[in-house]
C-alpha cells in the first residue's frame, strides 16, 4: 500500500475513462473529471474562447424590482400620473392582475444623474449611485414570460418549463471548478423564501446531477446539507472511521478490481476535506471589522424573516442576510467557486397587501441591498478581482407603468403597486470585462423598448461568452437534440460591439 497515491492516480484516470464511456456523454464526463481533478482539465474544449473572467456572481431580485423607481426615469409618466392608461397599451395584452383600464402611476422616487457616464439612478440606491461608472445599465431587457415561475426559469435555465439545467450548471459543466475542495456552483438565498420556481432554478436538468447548484445555507444550520458529523462524532473519530472505510474499500478493490471503488475512496476523502473547507469559507467572522462594516455584514446574524410564514411583514432596512451573502459571494469566488447565485426574495411589489408596495417595501428592500452590492463591487475592485468576476443584477421581468388596480382603485399609502411587465425592464452588469455605460432605451412611459432590445437569450449568450464559453457551440446531447442554454434557434446574440 506504500505506493498507493501513485496507484490511486493511475486508477483514477481509469475511472475517468470508465465514466467517460459509461455515460456515453463524452463532454459531460470530461467536465466531471475536471470537477474532480482540475489539473486534468487542461484540454481546451471546442466551445472555449479566451477570457480573463473566472467567476460569475448573479444577484437575482426574485419577484422583480420596479425599473421605473430604480433605473428608468420617466418624467413624462409623472405627467400622466393618475390618468387612465391609453388604450393602445392594453389592447391584446394580458396582465397577471391588472383588470379593465388601469391608471398610470408616475415615478414614486427621485432620480439624479451620477458619475462621468451620467447614469440616472434612484435616490433609493445612494451607495450604488457613487459607483455609477462601474455599471453597465441595460434598460432594454425583454422577456416573453409574465409569471414568476416561468420567467425565472427562462432567465436561469433558458426554458419556461421545468427540467432544464440552470446557467450555473451549464457553466460548471463547461468549465469545471477551480477549487477541488469546494463545489463549483453555489446558491445563497435571502428574503425569507426561495424564489417561486424553487430549486429547479439551480437544478442540473438533463446534465449529470454533479453539476447542480449546492445551496449553502446561512441560517445557522449546516452550510451544506449533511456536512456536519452526527452529534458526538468528533473529527478524530470521523477520521478513524473513514480510515477503516478506506481500508475495507481497498480490500474490496483488490478482490474485484472495479475502478469505481477508487473513485469512491477519493470522494470520501473530499467529503472529509469539505467538512473543513466549506465552513471556513462560509465563516464571514474571519473578515476584518472594516470589511464587515463596508458590507453592513453581521457574522452569525439570522433574520426573523427567514423563518416567518410571511417574511414581508418583518422586513427591515438593516437586515444583514443579503449583506452577509454578498460578502460570502466574494469569499467564494476568491476561493475559486465558478458560479455564485444569490436569490433575494420579496421584490414583487403589487401593492395589493401589506409588505409588497412600491412606496413602503421597495425602499426597505433597497436599503438591504444598496450598501451590500456597492461593497461587493468596491471590495472585488480593491482586491483586483473585479475584472475576473462578472456581476449580474436583475429580476425576472419589469413592472408596469400602470398602477395595479385589482385591489385598490385609488392611491393609498402602503398599497401603491405595479403589475408584472415583460416588455421592458432594467438589469445591470459590472466587472468581468463588461464596458460600463448605458445600453438601450424605452419610450417616454417606459412601456416599450425603443432602442437596442436585449432578450433573455442575448443576456445568457453574453454571460457565457464573457466567462469564456461560445454560447452557440456549447451544447449537450439530450433527447435527440444538442441542447443549449440559449435554446435551439440563433436568437442569442453576444452583442460584443456594444457591451465591450
Amino acid at each position: 500500500m506504500k505506493n498507493f497515491p501513485f496507484q490511486l492516480k493511475k486508477l483514477r484516470a481509469e475511472t475517468r475513462r470508465q465514466f467517460f464511456g459509461q455515460t456515453g456523454l463524452g463532454l459531460g464526463a470530461m467536465a466531471l473529471s475536471a470537477l474532480l481533478d482540475r489539473d486534468v482539465f487542461a484540454a481546451k474544449q471546442a466551445w472555449s474562447i479566451p477570457s480573463k473572467v473566472k467567476s460569475v456572481i448573479y444577484l437575482h431580485m426574485a419577484g422583480s424590482p420596479s425599473q421605473l423607481e430604480l433605473f428608468d426615469h420617466k418624467p413624462a409618466l409623472g405627467k400622466l400620473h393618475d390618468t387612465e392608461c391609453p388604450k393602445e397599451f392594453l389592447e391584446g395584452k394580458r396582465f397577471a392582475f391588472i383588470r379593465g383600464v388601469p391608471k398610470m402611476l408616475g415615478p414614486q422616487s427621485k432620480f439624479q444623474q451620477h458619475g462621468e457616464t451620467g447614469q440616472t439612478i434612484s435616490e433609493h440606491l445612494p451607495n450604488l449611485s457613487k459607483l455609477a461608472d462601474d455599471l453597465c445599465v441595460i434598460r432594454s431587457v425583454n422577456t416573453d414570460q409574465f409569471n414568476h415561475s416561468p420567467a425565472q426559469l427562462l432567465m436561469h435555465t433558458g426554458n419556461p418549463l421545468l427540467g432544464y439545467p440552470s446557467m450555473g450548471s451549464w457553466v460548471t459543466y463547461g468549465l469545471g471548478s477551480e477549487n477541488k475542495d469546494l463545489p463549483g456552483f453555489v446558491v445563497l438565498s435571502s428574503g425569507g423564501k426561495t424564489p417561486s420556481a424553487g430549486k429547479s432554478l439551480w437544478g442540473s436538468g438533463f446534465l449529470p446531477t454533479v453539476y447542480q447548484g449546492v445551496q449553502c445555507r446561512t441560517d445557522g444550520g449546516d452550510p451544506i446539507l449533511f456536512l456536519s458529523n452526527p452529534d458526538g462524532m468528533d473529527r478524530a473519530s470521523r477520521r478513524q472511521t473513514l480510515d477503516a472505510i478506506e481500508d475495507l474499500n481497498r480490500f474490496q478493490h483488490q478482490t474485484i478490481g472495479d475502478p469505481e471503488t477508487l473513485t469512491r475512496i477519493s470522494q470520501y476523502e473530499l467529503a472529509f476535506r469539505m467538512q473543513v473547507s466549506v465552513p471556513e469559507v462560509m465563516d464571514i467572522g474571519r473578515e476584518s471589522q472594516e470589511t464587515l462594516e463596508l458590507y453592513g455584514a453581521k457574522p452569525g446574524y439570522v433574520s426573523d424573516a427567514e423563518s416567518a410564514a410571511d417574511p414581508r411583514q418583518l422586513y427591515k432596512g438593516d437586515d444583514a442576510t443579503f449583506a452577509n451573502n454578498c460578502l460570502l459571494a466574494r469569499r467564494l469566488v476568491e476561493n475559486g467557486v465558478r458560479f455564485v447565485q444569490l436569490y433575494d426574495w420579496g421584490w414583487d411589489h403589487h401593492g395589493s397587501s401589506r409588505g409588497e408596495s412600491i412606496d413602503e417595501t421597495l425602499p426597505i428592500k433597497c436599503a438591504q441591498i444598496d450598501q451590500a452590492i456597492s461593497a461587493l463591487i468596491t471590495d472585488l475592485k480593491r482586491r483586483g478581482l473585479l475584472e475576473e468576476t462578472l456581476i449580474v443584477w436583475g429580476g425576472e421581468f419589469g413592472r408596469t407603468p400602470m398602477m395595479q388596480n385589482n385591489v385598490n382603485t385609488v392611491l393609498k399609502p402602503g398599497f401603491i403597486g405595479r403589475d408584472h411587465h415583460p416588455y421592458a425592464f432594467t438589469m445591470w452588469m459590472a466587472g468581468g470585462g463588461i464596458r460600463p455605460g448605458s445600453f438601450g432605451a424605452t419610450d417616454d412611459l417606459g412601456y416599450y423598448i425603443t432602442e437596442n432590445q436585449l432578450r433573455v437569450r442575448d443576456l445568457q449568450a453574453r454571460i457565457l461568452h464573457q466567462i469564456g464559453i461560445d454560447p452557440h457551440r456549447f451544447s449537450f446531447p439530450y433527447q435527440g437534440l444538442n441542447q443549449r442554454l440559449i435554446g435551439p434557434t440563433e436568437e442569442g446574440r453576444v452583442l460584443t460591439e456594444i457591451l465591450g
Binding site: H148, S149, L162, S196, F226, P230
Partner: protein, 1000 residues
C-alpha cells in the same frame, strides 16, 4: 457557371442562417451537383480488406448523420440545396452519389475538397469528415451505396438461436457467448453464492435478501434452489415496489403539481396501481393499454381508470394570472413526448417546432399524434378527479355495509309486542299534541302590512306583500305549558301578485320571552333544522346574527316548508306570558312570508323532526326514540353510517384522463415553431407513417394509439421494453441510449439477443416476471463481477458482458437497504406519501403554506418510493444519489459518484438511525465483540468478513474513544436510548462501504 452558382449561394448565407442550431450543425453552402465527369484519380482503396460489405446502419448512417443530414436530411424546412442524402433514390438522382463510382460522386469530391468554398461540411461548422470516415464512405459507394433501414425501424423477427456451447445452453447465454467468442474472451465464473443472492435480491426486490431467502439458497446453492429463490423474490410484495419505482421515473410521478405554487396533488393511488400491476404481473400490453386509455375501455373499472393517471402526472400551474391553455398545451405535448419516449424510445419532442431531422417524424405527424391526446377534459385546473378507494377502504366499506344491512333488517322486522306498546304510546298526542300552535297577540310591521288569521294559528298578509319588511310578532298560549322547541310552517304563496319570485328570505329570526310584568328575556335557539333549505341559505343562517343570508327555499318555493328551532333551555310559559318573534325579511323583491304558522312543543326535542307532516312517521319515531330495543339498534345504525361517511371522506380523489364529449372535441392545428398561439393548418388524428399503419377497426382515440404501439408491426415497443429491464439489471441497456432508439441513438451491442428477448417477451404474453426470470436465470447474469486485467482492457465497459453487472445502487435502494439491514424498515405497501426526516428549512416554497413534518413512528422508516416528492424541492438525500425530481419523464438516470453522497450516508439522520438499528441488532446477536462485528457485516453484505476485514473492524473498535457526553450524543443521534456508541460508529462504517453501496 459552377463557380458563380457557388458564390451566389454563399451570399444567401445570412438568410439561410435561421436554421435550427439545436440539431448540431448548420451549413450554408449549396451542394452543387452537376459534375459527373470521372476526372479524379482513384486514390482510395475501394476493395474492403475483409471482403465484407460496409454496414450501412453501423458505419455509414452515423457518418451521414453527424456530417450531412442536418442540412440534407428529412426536414424540409432546413434542407439546403434541395438535396437529400438520407434516401438512396434522391441521393443518386442528384448525382451526389454515383453507385459504384466514388470518384464520380459529388459527395466524395466535396468531403475531400481543399477549397474552403466547396468543401463539405462547410469549414465554419468545424465538423470535417475524418480520414477513416471518408474511406468508409468511399468503400460504401464503391460497393453500390446500399442503404438499409435503420435497425430499430425494421420488423421484429425472432432470430435463430446460436448453437449451444460448453458454457451454457440457455438462450440468452448462447447469444452472449457468440459475441465473447468473436472477441476471444471467456465468461467469468459464477459469482459466489452470497454475491449472487444479494445481487438477485437487490435486483428483483430492491432489498437485500431476507432471512428466508438466505436460508433457501445459501445452505444449498444449487441450480434448483437458485430458481426457487428467484421465484420467491418475484413473488414477494417488495418486487412490485421496486419495479414501480423504475416506472414512476418514466411516469414523472410526484406528489405536487410543479411550478410556482407547487401545491399538493393527491395521486398516490396511481403509484399504488403501478405497484399492484407489477406484483400481479399485469401483462405489458394490458399495462400499456390501461395507462394510456383505461378510461376508454368498455365498462372501464375504477382500476383501469386509475391507471390513466399516468398522463395526469403532467405539471399544472396554479400561479395567479397564468393562461390555463398555455399550460394545458404544455401538458398535452408532454404526453405525446412521454408516450413516444417510454414506449418507442423516440425523441418526438424535436418535431414540435420542425420536422425531426433524423428520425421519421414530421412536424405534421407530431401534431397528428398530438390530436389524439388533445381530447381530454383536463385543462390545467386539477379536474377531472375520480373517487378511488383503496382495497382496504373498499373492504372496510363493504364490511360496514353488510353490518349496516343486518342492523337495518333487525330494526324493521315485525314486532307485535312493540306494535302494541306503540298503540298505547300514541294516545298521549290526543290530549297533548306534538305541536301546539301559538296565537298572535300583537303585530308590528315596518312597512305597515296587516296580518289576518285564515284558520286556527294560520296567519297571512292581508293584501299585497311588501318588498321587504321586519315583523315583530307577540305570540301567546292558551294554556300554561313547557316549551322545548319552536316551529315555523310556511305555505306556498298564491300565483300572481306584484312579486314573481315566490321564495321567502328569512334573514334573521330572534325570539324573546315577555313575562306578565313586561320583563323581556332573550331565548337562545339551537339545533335548527328544516325540511329543505336553499343552497347557501341554510336554516342555521337565520339565527347566526349575520343578515347577509338566512333561511330560504328556492327552487322549491311552491311547496310548504317547516323549520324547527330548539330552545337551549326549555321554558315554562304561563297564559299571561308571551313570546316575541322578530323576523327580519329585508332581502327585497317581495321575499317575505305570506301564510305561516308558529307552534311550540313540550316533547323531547329528539322527537321533533324537520318534517312538514308533523305526525308523519310516528311509528319510526317510536322505534328510534322510545322502544329501548330499536332505540339501541338505531344508535348502532347511526354509528355504522357515520363510520361509512368517515371512510368515504378519506377516499382519495385521483386525477384521471377523461375524453371530451363529441360536442366539445378540440380541433388540432400545427403550432408553428412550436408556439401554441401561432397556428398553422388543421390536422386529423393519425400516427407517424413509418411505424406501421393504425390498426384496422381501432377507434381513432388513445385506445387506438395503444393498439398501434402494441401491434406486431410496431418494431419498437417490445425492443424498448426489454432493453429497459435489461438495463436496470446490467446497469446499461443492450442499446445504451435507452431514451433514443432513433438514428441518433447508439446501436445495440447484441442486436440478435435484443430481438430474441423482445420476441420472447411478446411470445410469453408480455409477462414481465417471465422476462426478468429469463434474464436472471442466465449464466451471463450470474457471472462474477471481478475485473481481470485482460477484460479491463478488452471490455472495459462490460459491453461484451464478459463479467457480472456491478454498479452503485439507486438512491432508493441505498435508503431501503440501510433500513432493511438495520431492522427499522416498515413493511407496508402503499398509502399516502410520507415524510421521513429531512433537515429543517428545506421547504421554503412561496405562499403554499404546506409544511414538511418529520414523521415519527412507522412512517419514518418506509421505503423510499413512499417519500413525499415535491417537484420544486425534492428530498435532498435522494437527489444527491441522482433520483429524479419528477418534473418530466426520465428514461434513465446518469450515475454519479460525488462527495455529497458520502456526506449523506455518513451523516444524514436517516442513515445514522439505520446505523443505530444495525448496532442494536449486532448487540442482540452475540455478547462477543468479534462475533457482533462479524454478524453485522453479514447482516449487511450477506457474507462473512474475511480475517483481514474483521481484524480491521476490531481494530477500529479498539481505537475509537468517546467520552461519556459524546457517547450519549451519538446514541441519541442514532435514535437509541442505550447501547454502545462505538458499535454505532462501526455500523455507520458498514453502511458506508463501497461494497454496501454497490450491487455486487
Amino acid at each position: 457557371m459552377l463557380l458563380s452558382d457557388s458564390i451566389q449561394y454563399r451570399m444567401q448565407k445570412s438568410s439561410a442562417a435561421k436554421t435550427c442550431g439545436c440539431c448540431s450543425i448548420t451549413c450554408w453552402v449549396l451542394f452543387v451537383l452537376l459534375c459527373f465527369a470521372p476526372n479524379c484519380k482513384g486514390e482510395d482503396h475501394i476493395v474492403s480488406p475483409d471482403g465484407k460489405v460496409a454496414d450501412f446502419n453501423r458505419v455509414i448512417r452515423p457518418i451521414l448523420a453527424k456530417h450531412c443530414l442536418s442540412c440534407h436530411g428529412r426536414d424540409d424546412a432546413s434542407r439546403q440545396a434541395d438535396l437529400r442524402l438520407d434516401e438512396r433514390d434522391t441521393a443518386i438522382a442528384s448525382g451526389a452519389i454515383v453507385s459504384g463510382h466514388p470518384d464520380a460522386s459529388e459527395l466524395v469530391k466535396r468531403i475531400k475538397s481543399s477549397d474552403p468554398d466547396l468543401v463539405m461540411p462547410p469549414p465554419d461548422t468545424e465538423n470535417p469528415v475524418s480520414q477513416s470516415d471518408r474511406k468508409a464512405l468511399v468503400r460504401w459507394i464503391a460497393e453500390g451505396a446500399i442503404y438499409s433501414e435503420h435497425w430499430s425501424f425494421t420488423s421484429l423477427i425472432r432470430p435463430p438461436l446460436p448453437p449451444s456451447n460448453s458454457w451454457s445452453s440457455k438462450s440468452v447465454d448462447r447469444f452472449v457467448y457468440e459475441k465473447l467468442k468473436s472477441e476471444n474472451l471467456v465468461p467469468n465464473e459464477v459469482a459466489e453464492p452470497w454475491v449472487l443472492l444479494r445481487r438477485v435480491s437487490l435486483d428483483l426486490t430492491g432489498l437485500p435478501p431476507d432471512q428466508k431467502a438466505r436460508e433457501m439458497f445459501l445452505a444449498n446453492p444449487s441450480e434448483q434452489s437458485y430458481e426457487q429463490v428467484v421465484d420467491y423474490l418475484l413473488g414477494s410484495d417488495s418486487y412490485g415496489e421496486h419495479w414501480a419505482r423504475m416506472w414512476l421515473d418514466l411516469a414523472r410521478y410526484a406528489d405536487t403539481k410543479g411550478y410556482e405554487k407547487d401545491r399538493e396533488r393527491v395521486i398516490w393511488r396511481y403509484r399504488d396501481w403501478v405497484i399492484d400491476a407489477f406484483n400481479a404481473d399485469l401483462p405489458y400490453d394490458q399495462f400499456t393499454i390501461q395507462q394510456l386509455a383505461g378510461d376508454l375501455l368498455p365498462n372501464a373499472t375504477m382500476e383501469q381508470k386509475l391507471a390513466t393517471a399516468f398522463h395526469r402526472n403532467t405539471m399544472e400551474n396554479d400561479e395567479g394570472g397564468t393562461d390555463d391553455e398555455e399550460f394545458r398545451v404544455a401538458a398535452v405535448k408532454d404526453r405525446v413526448d412521454t408516450t413516444m419516449q417510454v414506449w418507442m424510445g423516440l425523441t418526438a419532442g424535436c418535431a414540435k417546432c420542425h420536422s425531426h431531422k433524423y428520425d421519421p417524424i414530421s412536424q405534421k405527424e407530431y401534431y397528428q399524434l398530438y390530436a389524439f391526446f388533445n381530447q381530454t377534459a383536463d385543462a390545467d385546473r386539477g379536474q377531472p378527479l375520480m373517487k378511488s378507494p383503496t382495497d382496504s377502504q373498499q373492504q372496510e366499506l363493504s364490511g360496514l355495509e353488510v353490518e349496516l344491512k343486518g342492523l337495518e333488517k333487525e330494526y324493521t322486522q315485525a314486532d307485535p309486542v312493540s306494535d302494541q306498546a306503540y298503540e298505547e304510546w300514541i294516545k298521549q298526542f290526543d290530549s297533548k299534541p306534538l305541536w301546539n300552535h301559538l296565537e298572535l297577540r300583537d303585530f308590528t310591521s315596518e312597512s305597515d302590512v296587516k296580518l289576518e288569521q285564515v284558520q286556527a294559528g294560520h296567519y297571512n298578509v292581508a293584501g299585497e306583500l311588501p318588498e321587504k319588511d321586519i315583523w315583530v310578532l307577540t305570540m301567546g298560549v292558551t294554556d300554561s305549558r313547557e316549551i322545548t322547541s319552536l316551529r315555523l310552517d310556511t305555505l306556498p304563496k298564491p300565483q300572481g301578485g306584484r312579486w314573481p319570485d315566490k321564495n321567502v328570505a328569512l334573514r334573521e329570526m330572534k325570539v324573546e320571552k315577555v313575562d306578565a310584568a313586561g320583563q323581556v328575556t332573550p331565548i337562545q335557539l339551537v339545533n335548527p333544522r328544516a325540511d329543505f333549505s336553499q343552497r347557501g341559505w341554510e336554516v342555521q343562517r337565520a339565527i347566526d346574527n349575520k343578515p347577509e343570508a338566512g333561511w330560504a327555499f328556492s327552487p322549491n318555493a311552491s311547496q310548504p316548508h317547516c323549520a324547527i328551532f330548539d330552545l337551549e333551555q326549555p321554558i315554562q310559559m304561563a297564559v299571561g306570558e308571551a313570546l316575541r318573534f322578530t323576523l327580519e325579511q329585508q332581502y327585497g323583491q317581495g321575499l317575505v312570508l305570506d301564510e305561516f304558522k308558529l307552534s311550540s312543543s313540550s316533547y323531547p326535542v329528539s322527537w321533533l323532526k324537520g318534517d312538514v307532516e308533523a305526525l308523519a312517521n310516528l311509528r319510526e319515531l317510536y322505534r328510534k326514540e322510545v322502544d329501548p330495543r330499536t332505540q339501541r339498534l338505531a344508535k348502532a345504525i347511526e354509528g355504522k353510517r357515520s363510520k361509512i361517511r368517515s371512510v368515504q371522506n378519506r377516499i382519495p380523489s385521483t386525477p384521471i384522463m377523461q375524453e371530451l364529449g363529441e360536442a366539445k372535441r378540440r380541433e388540432t392545428k400545427i403550432h408553428l415553431r412550436g408556439n401554441f398561439l401561432d397556428l398553422g393548418e388543421s390536422v386529423a388524428a393519425q400516427v407517424p407513417a413509418q411505424f406501421g399503419a393504425f390498426p384496422e377497426d381501432a377507434p381513432l382515440t388513445r385506445l387506438g394509439v395503444a393498439g398501434w404501439l402494441l401491434q406486431e408491426s410496431n418494431p419498437l415497443t417490445a425492443r424498448v421494453a426489454v432493453n429497459r429491464f435489461w438495463a436496470r439489471l446490467f446497469g446499461r441497456g443492450l442499446v445504451e441510449t435507452e431514451e433514443d432508439f432513433g438514428t441518433q441513438g447508439k446501436l445495440p451491442t447484441h442486436p440478435e439477443l435484443l430481438d430474441w428477448l423482445a420476441s420472447d417477451f411478446r411470445g410469453q404474453d408480455w409477462s414481465i416476471k417471465s422476462l426478468l426470470k429469463t434474464i436472471v436465470m442466465s449464466k451471463t447474469y450470474r457471472q462474477s463481477s471481478k475485473y481481470s486485467d485482460e477484460k479491463l482492457s478488452v471490455d472495459p465497459r462490460n459491453e461484451l458482458l464478459s463479467r457480472g453487472p456491478r454498479f452503485r445502487m439507486s438512491a432508493e435502494m441505498v435508503r431501503d437497504q440501510s433500513l432493511a439491514v438495520s431492522g427499522l424498515l416498515t413493511h407496508r405497501i402503499g398509502g399516502p406519501s410520507v415524510m421521513p426526516p429531512q433537515p429543517p428549512g428545506i421547504w421554503k416554497s412561496t405562499y403554499s403554506g404546506e409544511k414538511w413534518k418529520n414523521a415519527t413512528g412507522p412512517d419514518r422508516y418506509r421505503r423510499a418510493l413512499y417519500t413525499y416528492k415535491k417537484r420544486t424541492s425534492p428530498y435532498p438525500a435522494m437527489t444527491t444519489f441522482d433520483s429524479s425530481s419528477g418534473e418530466v419523464c426520465q428514461i434513465r438516470r446518469i450515475r454519479t459518484n460525488t462527495p455529497l453522497q458520502a456526506l449523506v450516508t455518513l451523516n444524514d439522520v436517516a442513515f445514522f438511525e439505520a446505523a443505530g438499528g444495525l448496532a442494536k441488532r449486532m448487540t442482540e446477536s452475540s455478547s462477543v465483540l468479534r462475533q457482533q462485528l462479524s454478524n453485522g457485516f453479514e447482516m449487511t453484505l450477506v457474507r462473512q468478513p474475511n480475517k483481514s476485514e474483521l481484524d480491521r473492524l476490531v481494530e477500529l473498535y479498539g481505537t475509537l474513544e468517546f467520552n461519556e457526553s459524546n457517547g450519549k450524543k451519538i446514541l441519541n443521534a442514532a435514535g437509541l436510548e442505550q447501547g454502545d456508541p462505538k458499535l454505532v460508529s462501526l455500523a455507520n462504517v458498514l453502511l458506508n462501504l463501497d461494497e454496501t453501496l454497490t450491487k455486487p
